[in-house]
């Protein structure tokens, strides 16, 4: 058994195996390094030989204990044994020890460094990553040398980052390319960490309870971003199993990525656009590489965070223009600021809010601070002459808000005309439907805008009255609650009756159990994190609209969430049995209140 297996919320699929590195904790535990007098060299060489021998014996003993049905795992241990015996490791360490007259730990470190160089030069990631096996083997020898379970704190290139939570600022300072996976104590499915991890395509688990106590810096950990586990100091067998799973997952990912540029079209010819949600310009490459049909949601908040001054119109204009330009002719939907008053304390003073989620945020905040809003709207308008730009307003609760917002946009257009600055007068203007009030009045709202975009994360929270980041009630976060399914259906129908498009962004769009239901509603586009696009497109391409409509009909007739979830699981499992384990699903936390 591993030292500990901690559970959290899986947020970005994949398996990471590496050394724990706590953000904001001291990291370097020293490996002893010293030179030796000539007469001690032979004695030290003997110590190194013994450490290798003991390490081998230890591994061989583990090998013996592997039950016959796990022969596959035994083979991995065999390869570790081979590495331990390999002249390139032991021989090279011995050479360093003898020629440089250094202590065994240091010599071993140098031998690993030589191999690091050889492996790092390889192009093929599979072979490059075998260095991890070398490190595991070297660690075993080192623990023999140092006669203890040592914690190796050197942040190598195989770090698993552990943190309380990650902020956008952290992510700028981190060398993200060196990080294999994330695990954080805070956060829910839509937290920044998750969004970031998904956009980087690395495994992540958030909301992990008890991590600080259970994990030491340098502990070997597995982050299972498929099931939502953090395995601390796994056994050799567990490690072998995770090695296999990692390989399978990565092979699957390579397979679906090959076809991700094909259209998201069902077998019977129904096309659904599969777009990306992003917040950083840097993520554009991911969108293109993963076959995204444009950006369904560009979160514009990033430019406002982690800085003292508010961004000016020119800066925003340049950002938006560059984004539109690089993605043209793909459509880019820019969502205006969706931030609360707490983020702008320095500029507007702190508001005492009992309940910020229901407070002065998003469109309410922008309509209160019109100068800030105007600056952003003008920047978007000016960028609309390039590429294919649309704008949408978040958190619209009723007719008055959307009209106020659109009027402000018209005023900005007039200003720009007067100033002789170009903009596209035909730029589509849409709104997010994420409040129950907007759902209920969708027919009325549809006449005011060019498109809808349903934000399911907020819609579910506001419809069901729960805060999903609150562990005590997060089990109530039920995307297939009859109220939610009916709300979405109502909005899609209202949009289509009015002849406008209906998009959907939110975690439901990347859930393999939810997407077929949304397809049955004939949603025009879904928008999700770029990494999940290939998998979802793959599912769409294997489905038929006929089946999706049948499923939707059954779901609409189902009176309870439990029944719906069961129905959906059975249907989807039957259809895609081999692929579902690579997604994480919102349906997985349906059981009941956690302790």
């Amino acid at each position: 058994m591993a030292l500990a297996t901690l559970t959290g919320i899986p947020i970005s699929a994949g398996i990471a195996i590496g050394k724990a590195f706590f953000l904001n904790r001291s990291l370097f535990g020293q490996i002893p390094r010293h030179t030796l007098p000539v007469d001690q060299v032979e004695q030290e060489a003997q110590r190194l030989r013994e450490a290798f021998a003991k390490g081998q014996a230890e591994l061989a003993a583990i090998r013996e204990r592997v039950p016959a049905e796990l022969e596959e795992h035994a083979l991995i241990i065999d390869s570790h044994l081979m590495i331990m015996r390999d002249p390139k490791l032991q021989g090279s360490a011995m050479n360093h020890l003898m020629s440089l007259r250094i202590n065994a730990e240091w010599a071993l470190e140098k031998a690993v460094a030589d191999l690091e160089e050889a492996f790092d030069a390889l192009d093929d990631p599979y072979f490059r990553e075998r260095l991890q096996d070398v490190r595991l083997v070297a660690d075993r020898v080192r623990s023999q040398l140092m006669d203890q379970k040592v914690d190796f704190r050197t942040l190598g290139s195989r770090a698993v980052l552990l943190a309380h939570d990650l902020t956008p600022a952290d992510t700028v300072e981190l060398q993200v390319d060196k990080i294999m996976g994330f695990a954080t104590m805070q956060g829910g499915k839509t937290s920044h960490t998750g969004i970031l991890a998904k956009s980087l395509g690395i495994p992540a688990v958030v909301g992990v309870v008890g991590m600080e106590e259970a994990v030491q810096d340098g502990s070997l950990v597995v982050v299972d971003g498929i099931k939502g586990l953090v395995v601390v100091e796994p056994t050799e067998e567990e490690l072998a199993r995770y090695g296999d799973l990692k390989y399978q997952f990565e092979s699957y990912r390579v397979g679906i990525t090959k076809n991700c540029h094909l259209p998201g079209e069902t077998i019977d010819g129904y096309r659904i656009k599969v777009k990306a949600n992003i917040e950083l310009y840097e993520e554009v490459a991911q969108v293109i590489d993963n076959g995204g049909d444009g950006i369904g949601l560009f979160r514009t908040e990033y430019a406002y965070l982690n800085r003292v001054n508010l961004p000016g119109e020119e800066e925003l204009f340049e950002n938006y223009r560059d984004l539109a330009d690089i993605l043209a002719p793909r459509r880019v939907i820019l969502r205006t600021l969706d931030l609360g008053a707490d983020k702008f304390m320095a500029h507007f003073g702190r508001l005492e809010e009992q309940n910020p989620a229901l407070g002065m945020r998003a469109i309410r905040f922008c309509l209160r601070h019109k100068d800030l809003f105007r600056t952003q709207i003008r920047a978007i308008l000016r960028a609309s002459v390039v590429g294919n730009v649309s704008l949408m307003f978040p958190m619209i609760s009723g007719l008055k808000e959307i009209r106020q917002s659109v009027n402000l946009l018209r005023e900005c257009q007039q200003e720009l005309s007067r100033e002789g600055l170009a903009y596209n007068p035909e730029m589509p203007v849409g709104m997010m439907v994420e409040l129950p009030s907007a759902v209920m009045t969708a027919e009325i709202m549809a006449k005011e805008v060019d498109f809808f975009s349903i934000g399911t994360n907020d819609l579910i929270q506001y419809s069901l009255g729960i805060d999903r980041t609150n562990r005590h009630v997060s089990y109530l976060y039920q995307p297939l609650h009859p109220a939610v399914v009916r709300s979405i259906k109502h909005v899609v129908d209202a949009a289509h009756q009015a002849g406008i498009e209906c998009n959907l962004c939110g975690e439901m769009a990347s859930d393999p159990f939810c997407v077929p239901i949304l397809m049955g509603m004939q949603i025009d586009a879904i928008s999700l994190n770029p990494q999940t696009i290939p998998g979802i497109k793959h599912l769409i391409r294997q489905a038929t609209m006929d089946d999706c409509k049948k499923l939707l009909k059954q779901v609409l007739e189902s009176p309870t969430v439990a029944r719906t979830n069961q129905l959906v699981r059975e249907t989807i499992f039957q259809k895609f049995p081999d692929q579902l384990s690579y997604f994480y699903s919102l349906l997985d936390s349906e059981e009941g209140p956690s302790q």
Binding site: D86, P87, K88, L89, A118, D123, F127, D133
Partner: protein
């Protein structure tokens, strides 16, 4: 691309040098487990056995050397052996390739 191996005896240095051309048939290439099997098999022989790919020659008895070849599916390799049991060694190793390391 040869489906199986081509035996080829070169008359070099007194007749103990053998060369075989083999192709990596298994789908994942010479990844950790095949590499382990290959090195393990090579270690049973006294001959010096090397593998050549794209001009790079490595020790067939070293799993780490084999891994750093990064030989993928379809890669063509040359096995070389020198020693008293060179012929048997290459027969055994070539069989591994032919059987896809099963």
């Amino acid at each position: 691309m040869p489906e199986t191996t081509v035996p080829l005896k070169l008359d070099l240095d007194g007749g103990h040098d053998y060369v075989r051309l083999v192709c990596v048939l298994n789908e994942k290439g010479l990844h950790a487990r095949p590499a382990a099997k290959l090195a393990q098999a090579a270690q049973r022989f006294d001959s010096v056995i090397t593998i050549v790919m794209n001009g790079q020659e490595v020790d067939a008895k070293s799993i780490l050397d084999i891994l750093t070849l990064a030989a993928g599916h379809g890669a063509n390799l040359e096995l070389r052996a020198q020693g008293d049991d060179a012929g048997q060694a290459l027969d055994a190793l070539a069989d591994l390739f032919k059987n896809r390391f099963q």
